[in-house]
Symmetry: C2
DNA sequence: TATTGTTATACTCTATAACTATA
DNA sequence: TATAGTTATAGAGTATAACAATA
């Protein structure tokens, strides 16, 4: 069995300069995870599946979001968290995590990060001394205003590209989410092994 | 500034049993990253954004996919890779990576994993001795048949839940992906700092 | 006893950089 | 010099497990 270059390799002598992975200037090597259908390839079932179309769309939308927001470290998730805090000042940290589909520990890191940015602050929960409540700061609200404008522009540009069918799309997506959440997994060809 | 439990903590004496994070049985602590809208919360802009609806739908679909396929380690991505190899036997490893929006190195790990499962095999590229070509094995094709049936069932159950508007959705998603990929980032309220 | 937040840890995914062989 | 694959490593994201304080 022939192996390409696994003949002999040297350990990387120097312990690697540890370049910051920041978004300063793309190293020209790698062109942004595009996931667009390649012309010469056959995609088989993938072209029929709702799930794959959804994945493509989400990928493209994510990249577009990144390009639209001028703070590279504000991901869609962080943006959503900030919106939720601003809209529901004083919500418990755990509730925020739940709303975002995160484990408690992940929610904590998220709130930690927002606190470090100075965009939210924790305060005691008068009703439960175990809990924190989370509040937006003026800086956080200011930033949210700015980013929201950028996100809105991003979103409505896409909506415009869809013409008059655009509004349908959001409702269809909502219905799809409800269906996928509520539906029992379809018993496909072979029945599940056993209740175990 | 009061801090909840950060008074004094003990280092975890025992170096943690290192339990395998496998999917054997859910520990009953954590209920599957649901991301469904919570009743008491205000979602603000999020409810208007196409991007957030897309995220919700994708999250729900991902969970539904997991429940529908009886091999827990076959993710949507791995499934897609297997389809591409089966549909395009002999494609270069790097082309596969590109099609999946991955860096070369990531593509290699993906192919490594598929090889370990015995589902694909690498062979020399007669036209370029630097390259591998990737081919499906009989076992891979058999597995793909089975999983494809499950995925199709999963997908068409969702499609059915959307009624006659279902077919529209896939086309809208495709158009959305094209729009998001091709569109220049909208110049929002404040002009970008500078060409730098 | 159950729950909230916390912490340390580990796992997954994927990018980066350096390297080899080949073009 | 540029490209394909490989490797080691680093980083982001998030889950697990154990713990303290509180309910």
């Amino acid at each position: 069995m022939q192996q390409k270059n696994a003949s002999q390799r040297k350990p990387p002598a120097s312990p690697v300069p540890a370049r910051k992975a920041g978004r300063g200037a793309p190293p020209a090597d790698w062109a942004q995870a595009e996931l667009r259908p390649l012309p010469g390839l056959a995609y088989g079932v993938l072209d029929e599946l709702l799930g794959y179309a959804l994945r493509r769309a989400q990928n493209a939308l994510y990249l577009h979001f990144q390009r639209s927001v001028d703070r590279a470290d504000v991901s869609p998730q962080r943006f959503a968290a900030l919106v939720l805090v601003a809209q529901n000042p004083g919500l418990r940290q755990g509730l925020l995590a739940e709303a975002m589909g995160l484990h408690r520990s992940g929610g904590m890191r998220l709130v930690d990060w927002l606190c470090e940015q100075g965009w939210v602050a924790r305060a005691d929960d008068p009703q439960d001394r175990r809990s924190w409540t989370v509040h937006p700061t003026p800086e956080g609200l200011a930033l949210l205003d700015r980013v929201t404008a950028q996100v809105r522009a991003h979103d409505s540009a896409l909506l415009a590209a869809l013409g008059d069918e655009g509004p349908h799309l959001r409702r269809l997506l909502d219905r799809l989410a409800v269906a996928a959440t509520g539906l029992t997994p379809p018993s496909s060809t072979d029945p599940v092994p056993a209740p175990e």
